[in-house]
């Protein structure tokens, strides 16, 4: 085959390592673009796939953002745990002040404020709206109140509980009330919420994986003949796999961006009413958005899900297709 050997050499020149590598990169770049072009050429069905991915990701991520906002709102309350001690009615204001002095010396206490029976009465009159009705009463029905802020190293829920028990045991005290029980309950509920969101996120990520996997599987099946032909003319599995992997990548990326947009739009719609509600509570709280870090994280996760989904589909179905 002397006539052919020169041709062979020609091919060898072209396949020197450096140009081989360039060609390899060029092929990647070309498939990267052409797989996006393929999505563009069937816009409706691909948009539906992308929208499904977007919704599936926007739902847990949106819940997560709302929860973060709730944590922001309630974050300020944690350090503010406060114990109200109501004395027995037979404890006079002087005795209450004396008791206050005693309690103030305890190491667990940061600060203490004594509200005498008269002060309690006037405060109640001012705030309750029963002002005139209360004037009718002959005797002040309200006890003195000692308002206690535990020191910072005793403000953890379990330690505060111990302190409350200790105070409640005092003979002058009728009722010791930890005002932050409801905050604790809120925190406990938010923790459940957080776990719930993780579970939902995991399930919906699986849904994204399956959606992309199934779409790629259908794509592979519809291009079965083409795969057989390119295998016959010497295509490696990597070469055949490449466009499908990039397609999965694009689904993931576009789905992530759609999810991002959905979350921002939803937060935008909610922010007005939320601000009004916060205003009614005298707060200047406003909904914070996803944030660039979370948004990038969301998009990256989505891209990775796209790649994994297509990888699984390609791995499962490509080697079934062999020329016969």
């Amino acid at each position: 085959m002397s006539g052919h050997s020169s041709n062979q050499r020609g091919a060898a020149d072209n396949s020197q390592p450096s140009s081989r590598f360039t060609a390899y990169l060029l092929n990647h770049a070309q498939v990267f673009i052409s797989s996006l072009g393929k999505l563009y050429r069937a816009p409706v069905s691909n948009l539906m796939t992308v929208a499904v991915i977007g919704i599936a990701l926007a739902f847990p991520m949106g819940l997560y953002v709302l929860l973060q906002n709730m944590q922001d709102v309630s974050g300020g309350w944690n350090g503010a745990s406060q114990i109200s001690l109501f004395t027995k009615l037979n404890v006079s204001d002087d005795k209450a002040a004396e008791l206050g002095q005693k309690i103030r010396l305890m190491p667990e206490i940061e600060s203490l404020h004594v509200l005498s029976r008269n002060e309690a009465m006037s405060e109640f009159q001012a705030l309750s709206g029963f002002g005139q009705a209360l004037e009718v009463l002959e005797e002040n029905p309200l006890p003195a109140v000692l308002i206690i802020h535990p020191s910072s190293n005793h403000s953890a829920p379990d330690k505060v509980a111990v302190l409350v028990e200790k105070l409640r045991a005092m003979p002058e005290i009728d009722l010791a009330q930890l005002d932050l029980q409801w905050v604790e309950r809120l925190y406990a509920m938010m923790e459940i919420g957080q776990r719930g969101i993780y579970v939902i996120a995991a399930l919906l990520s699986l849904a994204v994986l399956l959606t992309i996997g199934n779409t790629i599987r259908l794509d592979i099946q519809s291009r079965r003949d083409e795969i057989v032909i390119v295998k016959l003319i010497g295509a490696t599995n990597a070469f055949i796999r490449r466009p499908f992997l990039y397609t999965g990548f694009w689904y993931g990326l576009l789905g992530g961006i759609v999810a991002w947009i959905m979350i921002e739009v939803s937060l935008g719609l909610l922010s007005g009413p939320v601000q009004r509600l916060a205003g009614l509570y005298g707060s200047d709280f406003s909904l914070s958005s996803l944030g660039i870090t979370n948004a990038l994280l969301l998009t990256c996760c989505s891209m990775v899900l796209g790649l994994i989904g297509s990888w699984i589909a390609v791995g499962r179905h490509l080697h079934e297709i062999e020329p016969t």
Binding site: G3, I229, I233
Partner: protein, 223 residues
């Protein structure tokens, strides 16, 4: 180029497709593989093109034992073989140019090189002016020529053709066969499975005659 030694191929289910086949083909030779349908022609070509593996015996392609080729190496060996199918197996979602360019894209050739080689191949089969058309708009003979251009574009040392003229009228068949001869004249080894006995006789190359999986006869060209 090709060497079969005591080769057997039995399909699952017990059908003996090839039975003790021995033959050799030199570099640059051209030969026809004939026989009735079911005689084993396609199986023999499938073994050379690594679609099927022999059950027993030895098949060598360029001194590579085809029974021992790993899956990973199959694509690289296939690039040394140009395969032409009866139904030409073109892709109708792309142009003639892109169809012919496919082996070069797969092998990782550079853009300019691809353009040069594809046009050279299309020129050889006389379809240079149709490079931008979709193959579906071409006639059967033209489609077959696109298939041939795709098979030769990366200059493989071996061409295999399975009934390349099966769907063509005698005149076009003659034209296609002459095309194979021109490739053979520049040193390419050509093996064509066909049952167009008259045409084969006229062309006067070596014949490998298969019958029920056995090689009956190896007729030397009548000169």
């Amino acid at each position: 180029m090709i060497s079969f030694q005591n080769l057997f191929k039995r399909y699952p289910g017990g059908h003996e497709a090839l039975n003790n086949i021995c033959f050799d083909m030199d570099d640059g030779e051209m030969a026809f593989l004939t026989g009735h349908s079911g005689a084993g022609k396609s199986t023999l070509l499938k073994i050379i093109s690594l679609i099927e593996k022999p059950t027993r015996g030895q098949a060598l392609l360029n001194n590579v034992n085809l029974s021992r080729v790993s899956r990973r190496r199959i694509p690289h060996l296939r690039r040394q073989i140009g395969i032409i199918f009866q139904d030409h197996q073109l892709l109708f979602d792309r142009t003639v140019f892109d169809n012919v360019a496919l082996p070069l894209v797969i092998a990782g050739y550079r853009h300019q090189e691809i353009g040069r080689r594809v046009r050279a191949a299309l020129d050889k089969v006389g379809l240079l002016n149709k490079e931008k058309q979709n193959p579906i708009t071409l006639s059967g003979g033209e489609q077959q020529r696109v298939g041939i251009a795709r098979a030769v574009v990366n200059k493989p040392p071996l061409l295999l053709a399975d009934e390349p003229t099966g769907n063509l009228d005698p005149e076009l068949s003659q034209e296609i066969m002459s095309l194979f001869e021109t490739f053979n004249q520049v040193g390419v080894t050509v093996l064509i499975a066909s049952h167009d006995l008259e045409l084969i006789k006229r062309m006067g190359h070596r014949q490998l005659i298969l019958s029920q999986g056995q090689l009956l006869d190896q007729q030397e060209p009548l000169l």
